[in-house]
């Protein structure tokens, strides 16, 4: 019970922090409104999707270093195929890219289970593989995106202008995929193998199969993240973005314990928005972007240190 409250205090704290930051933004920039929120949400969308994917794998006791490379593969595949395609075709293409993401993740997971090589090493090797695949598909940024796809994340929701579509998109996608899983046996199994694989195995959890599913889900969210890059820029980007480090940091900030078994998805998503808001505020204050990167990194490291100290204290008492 105490642990449950503790976990939720962290998420609540993050929500309060985000609200305070948005308030601060309003103070810095009095005309910050719908369009500001919209650009914030659109910039945060690929980061948030990558973080959700990473969070699922970390909850299941793993880590996926290849996430940014998988996003690149999804982004270029979507952009190359959609270039000049009709709306009907592009729906099929989007579904195909999502399946491709599932497949890439499942390959990562299967390799980890079959080869018994540590997950860090496997996904490190697969990082090179997926990078190579993305480069083979598209050598330089290019391709196109269907108009309806681009409209999915741009602007506000009709009727409620201040609510960015990107946030709604993120909420719907995450809820539709994660909530049924979380409520089912599979969700319990994901947490179980993250918490203690041996105990999970002895309680009859198919550990290998569950681990593959966790990585497949991560691949699915990576594909969504890759598509969201294509959505907002309109082209495919074969060079992986800075999503690996950012997603690991947001997952840790969001209260998911590296090593698995604890945490949810809401915390990491809030953490993504906090980090993006900090960056936006620094830009609004016309801080040199490089200095902003230093400040952002320092905040991330300081929070992680603070969290680690708290965790150690908690373990001792």
């Amino acid at each position: 019970m105490k642990r449950w409250i503790e976990a939720n205090t962290w998420t609540l704290g993050l929500a309060v922090l985000l609200a305070a930051l948005l308030l601060l933004t309003k103070l810095i920039q009095p005309d910050f409104g719908a369009s500001g929120l919209d650009s914030l949400a659109r910039a945060a969308l690929p980061f948030a999707l990558a973080t959700v994917g990473m969070a699922i794998v970390v909850i299941a006791g793993g880590i996926d270093l290849s996430i940014a490379a998988m996003m690149a593969v999804a982004s270029v595949t979507g952009a190359v195929l959609m270039d000049g395609a009709s709306d009907g075709q592009s729906v099929v293409i989007v579904i195909g890219v999502l399946l491709l993401g599932l497949a890439m993740g499942a390959i990562n997971g299967a390799l980890i289970v079959v080869s018994k090589v540590p997950d860090i090493v496997v996904t490190l090797a697969m990082l090179f593989v997926w990078q190579g695949v993305a480069l083979l598909i598209l050598n330089a940024p290019g391709g196109g995106a269907a108009a309806w796809l681009r409209a999915l994340s741009a602007g506000g929701v009709p009727g409620i202008d201040w609510l960015p579509r990107a946030v709604v998109f993120l909420a719907i996608v995450t809820a539709v995929i994660w909530i049924p899983i979380r409520r089912s046996k599979l969700g319990l199994r994901l947490y179980a193998i993250g918490s203690d694989p041996l105990a999970a195995f002895r309680s009859g959890v198919p550990v290998g199969q569950t681990r593959i599913i966790a990585y497949a889900l991560c691949g699915l969210f990576a594909a969504l993240g890759g598509l969201s890059v294509t959505m907002s820029t309109g082209i495919g980007e074969p060079i992986p973005g800075p999503y690996l480090l950012a997603s690991v940091a947001a997952v840790v900030l969001g209260g998911v314990v590296l090593g698995g078994g604890r945490g949810g998805l809401l915390g990491p998503i809030l953490a993504v928005f906090i980090l993006r808001t900090v960056r936006m505020d620094l830009t609004l204050l016309s801080v040199d972007p490089n200095v902003a990167a230093i400040i952002e990194g320092t905040i991330m490291v300081a929070v992680v240190m603070f969290g680690a100290v708290l965790a150690t204290r908690g373990r001792k008492t």
């Binding site: 090589v117 496997v122 990082l127 593989v129 480069l135 490089n290 990167a293 991330m300 680690a308 150690t312």
Partner: protein
């Protein structure tokens, strides 16, 4: 091993790899060189060998950081950044304040990164992966800010670094003059010194090490500081070799340095491995890269093969050694 054991070929190979992990790795290296010779007859020469050594040395030195941190169950992903910063500071400060002070400042900056890593990992108990990635991010930001102030001063690469990085003596690269004592020191420290034993002890069972009176935090603190210092020295060597000061000089070596240690048989969970294997691992990676370049495969295909081969070698190693 009991008498009833019927040693199959696999079993025997596995035992061999546990007892003498270097032999199969050297075998793989020779195999790769042989394949290279068949693919492109005439490429093998003294010049080629010395060139391969020259390219492998910075990788092997950065992989020393990974080997030592991995022995305790950690990892140091800030080595590429520490090396880059040391190189960039040396090259840009040398025309302003002279070579020795520039190098002193450069190494101090590298050590600072290590101190921050050590503080986070040893005292706050942050996961090494997160901590070192985080400091790498901050340090890169600092480097970018610093770069704006020195853009006009020009670049000077000290002569002795050029000699060390690109020169040859009797057909062998001069960087061996730095690397051979370094490798002997690291291997000696791992096998014989108390510090080396502590690394294995912490990696094998941290709780047991703590209960037997090891001050784990002191070991971690020293280890990550030392790791960044080695990375800084590597950066200086790499500067002499590449002969340009760029903002991403040694960053592409970050992940291969982990791969070199892993291929060399060091366990990422700690407690097992050694620097000897890592050196061979670095050579294998270097030969592999030059092989893939010679085969004229497009960049994408090269990366795919590189990743798959790392995976295959590691999987094979684990499969063979786990039987015993």
């Amino acid at each position: 091993m009991t008498m009833t054991d019927t040693p199959t070929a696999m079993n025997r190979l596995g035992r061999l790899m546990v007892d003498r992990p270097l032999l199969p790795l050297i075998g793989l290296l020779i195999l790769l060189v042989a394949v290279l010779a068949i693919l492109n007859p005439g490429v093998l020469s003294m010049f080629w060998a010395s060139n391969t050594l020259k390219i492998a040395i910075p990788l092997a030195m950065l992989a020393a950081c990974q080997t030592m941190t991995m022995l305790t169950g950690g990892i140091d992903l800030s080595v590429g950044t520490a090396a880059t910063i040391a190189a960039y500071l040396t090259a840009t400060l040398a025309p302003l304040i002279g070579v020795p002070p520039a190098i002193a400042i450069a190494l101090a900056a590298a050590i600072l990164i290590g101190l921050v890593n050590g503080f986070g990992i040893a005292i706050c108990r942050v996961h090494p992966l997160i901590m070192t990635l985080g400091t790498a991010l901050i340090a890169t930001g600092c480097l970018l800010v610093y770069q704006r102030y020195v853009i006009a001063t020009g670049v000077l690469i000290p002569d002795f670094l050029l000699w060390l990085g690109t020169g040859r003596t009797l057909g062998l690269p001069n960087s061996l003059a730095l690397f051979i004592p370094f490798a002997i020191l690291v291997i000696w420290a791992q096998r014989r010194s108390g510090f080396g034993r502590l690394l294995y002890a912490i990696g094998a069972n941290e709780a047991a090490a703590r209960l037997s009176g090891v001050r784990v935090w002191q070991v971690h603190f020293t280890l990550y500081t030392l790791s960044s210092l080695i990375a800084g020295v590597t950066g200086l060597l790499y500067l002499g070799q590449i002969k340009t000061a760029s903002l991403s000089l040694a960053l592409p070596l970050d992940l291969p340095s982990v791969a070199a240690a892993v291929i060399g048989g060091t366990s990422i969970f700690g407690g097992r491995g050694g620097y000897g294997g890592t050196i061979v691992g670095a050579l294998i990676l270097t030969v592999l890269t030059s092989m893939l370049t010679l085969m004229q495969i497009p960049e994408g295909g090269r990366r795919i093969l590189f990743g798959l081969i790392i995976l295959a070698v590691t999987a094979l190693f684990i499969r063979l050694t786990e039987r015993n």
